[in-house]
Amino acid sequence: MGGGSPDRPDESEAYRALAEQSATYFNRYKDVFVPLENQYIQSVFDAGSGAAYQDAQNTATSLAQSQFDQRIGGLQSGMLAKGVDPTSGRFQGATSDAFEKLGSIRGLAGADAGINNTDRFLGGIQNVVKMGQGLASEAMQGQIGLAQTAEDKIRSQFSTDFEDDQQKSQALGTAAGMAAGGAYNYYGSN
């Protein structure tokens, strides 16, 4: 019938069916999976955009700020409850130390989130490369996963720093209390 040499035997019916089946599967792949793969590729490149970095960093700094707000409130309330005068060196020193920590932790949390986002973007790119090479792909870590990681790190860091601070404050408070007696009892004198 068609193109081949007359000496060659015909291809088997099963082989021809296999080729047709492969073509059908291939067309299904084109119609169904290629658009989905393209969506995934687009989402990977979106994850590497400036907006994605901004989102990741804003989330991390907000988490850091939120953790700090709770802890600075507790620290200052505790000092006030013990009668420490806000104009005192003890109160202002502890507050100053805490805000120094805030600046560093907030900044590093934002930086860490940026680096994590680069890793996330690259992880997605690697998956796309594996898709193209016909290898298994791994799930790409989402923003929610990144936020959870950031929150865990920040909580841990604030816990350590504030425990250190409170131990130092207590030691300083003891020394100041021995030196100055109750003279710093701001609320007591008002």
Partner: protein
Amino acid sequence: MSWLTEYLQSLPDEARQQFFDFYGDGGESQAAQIGNSGTAASPVYNYNPNQNPYGGVNPSAYAGDDKEGASRLFADIIRAQTDDYLNRFAPIEDFLAGTITRTGTTFLEGDMARTREAVMGGGLAAQGQYSRNLERFGVMGKQLDNSMATTSALVGGLNDTRDRDEDRKLALLGGGLGSIAPKIRSSQGAT
């Protein structure tokens, strides 16, 4: 895919162009199309994921050829898969391979800029909040001197950023690039 080529040739110019605009036109890798039109710290990557370089393979294209019909059909499928790879995936491989530098990756510059900005911004935010916090207790005009803490955080943050970029390079070369990793390793003189 000669049937497709013949079909496309039979279309009016405008319709054929619309087809190529939507599906792409096959052929070689379009690596040059992926680039960053933003900045290192705020990247904007250009990639057209809507490329679909083939219009399908007709399962009955060689139905009358009993001797080589199946082989020719398989050949069409392989060519279509190769076109797809060249158009959609090879540019991304090129992009990923191009991010590897001798000391790390090209992402280092952006990460360093973001780290610098984040740490300096954190220090400034703390200064403003400190003054406002003490004002609530009636203590006015206090300034937070956190320059040492901010500098220390900045140095640590930048070192960490650099270390993590080196780790990233190693992770990429260690398998994240799939089969192109050995090529880059050998091109950099590694064993």
